[in-house]
Amino acid sequence: MRKINPFPALIAAFILAAVGLTVENEYYLGVAVIIMIHALNATGLNILLGYTGIISIGQAAFFGIGAYISGVLSATYGWNALLTFPVAFMGAFIIAYIIGWPVLRLHGHYLAMATLGFGMIIYILMNEMDFITGGPSGLMGIGDIEFFGLYFGLDQAYFVLMSVYFVFVLFMLELFDKSFLHYKLKFIKSSESASNSYGLDTVQTKLLVFAFVAGFTAVNGSLYAFFVHFISPVSFSLKYSIELVAMATVGGLGYITGGVIGAVILGLVPELFASAEDYEMLIYGGLLAVCVMFVPGGIAGTLSRLRKKDA
């Protein structure tokens, strides 16, 4: 067992505290919240792609399922925000389990296409089932998160809530990275037949990981919905799924910090180059291609290699 390295979580906590104390502008705090949500989604995908070898190009669908479950329950039925989170998690978990049962027996290209097709179907359903989702014009009137007399309607408050959750998840991920489960998943990734012959139920393990990550992504979707208060299908299109793949790959597949690094870098691109909005996808595609071709392991992988060289 390797020693637990609390530094990534601590550094993140420190940076977030510094941002929270110094930045007054609500807009920038909002950007920080959105980037944290991207980072969590990218990390979820990283667990699938980098640890388990499941290529999923439909993560935006689970993100959207979570956002819409919370949004509809809150806006149409007036539920308390907190109660919608378990529903979103379980909803996505069950859908992912049902979808994954046949899909995760597939490999490589087939798996990529199947998850992509699933994402497109969910996207079309979001657009067409306008009696539930509000259709292409979106869903409005989503409430605020409120519990124990605390109210998270303001951006500052939401930033604090999100930061606490984010650091907590980072710490859990560090525990996961040092756990037995992590080795099990990497074993499945490196050779499915070998892990089968060692008595691992690979399909069942992959299924549970896939469903759990789907639930996790859905919770991020709920957090997103309660932050922006307005959701429309555009946010959950294939483009977002591909952006997540880019974030995880550029950041570093198979490194716990990879998703976070990728999300911060690629999430800041549209903010820094607001004038060059047209070139946003060009930057995404270019970075993705360069990383896959020349930088295996992405940024996190390169950093850890450099560190090992020094030591």
Binding site: I57, P102, L106, L116, I124, I242, D278, L282, V292, M293
Partner: protein, 287 residues
Amino acid sequence: MQFLYSGLTGGSIYALVALGYNIIYNTTGLINFAQGEFVMLGGMLIYTLFAVFGMPFIIAFPLAVVTALIVGLLFERVFINLVRVKSDINLITVTIAASILLRDFAMHIWGRDTVTVGEFMPVKSIELPGGVISNQSIMVIAVGACIAFILHLFLKRSKYGRAMRACFDDMTAAGICGINAVMVRVMSFGVAAAVGAAAGVLISPITFVTYDDGLMIGLKGFAAAILGGLGSFWGAVAGGILLGLLESFAATIMPSGYKDAIAFVVILLILFVKPAGLFGKRMAKRV
């Protein structure tokens, strides 16, 4: 009956796109996620040559296809060849990245708006039992069938086609027999791009062209390819036509918004029930 005619038109296009997937799959065992972008490229090139420069269609068509072929060759040299670790996940990701780049370049060159190509010949409607069909649709079906037939001859009879099939069976053995495997891979990307572009040219007067068309048509072509069985030549043709018919039939009984979902439901159903496709052979798994 009307749905039969429109289904055949759309189906011929899907069949051509599916053949493009098959050519690459049969030589490299790879799915090119950017295949649809070549369809868009074909449409955009014919728009430039035919509508903007005013070339006669007989010259513009081959020129567009040859240009796409060259782009296909470059595509392989730049994206596939340079990937250091050629694992499945890396190759999938790099073709996705390449499709983003192609789409974005197209957006910068031709703009965000839909472009109208205009008719290649005067449009006439022909009365058939149970409906009408335009001579445009007939041209799509006829030229599509011709391309499929030429491709079939190329793959089965010509030296290059045989080399391609040998590479799929066993890359190493083919290399020992003196086949330049890299050359074959490059060429398969070129041919696939050319076939995709031809499909794009044919469909452009009917559906018009937008820079982000490639994604949808690429996915539908893939649905057609696995419906017929990935790697099976006539399977791809049958799958394409079947998908076209299914889509246009669905449009008669469902709200049109769901029409695009058909292809994805087909992808999922086939992958669930019979991943080898309707006409494909079950392949042994290599451990």
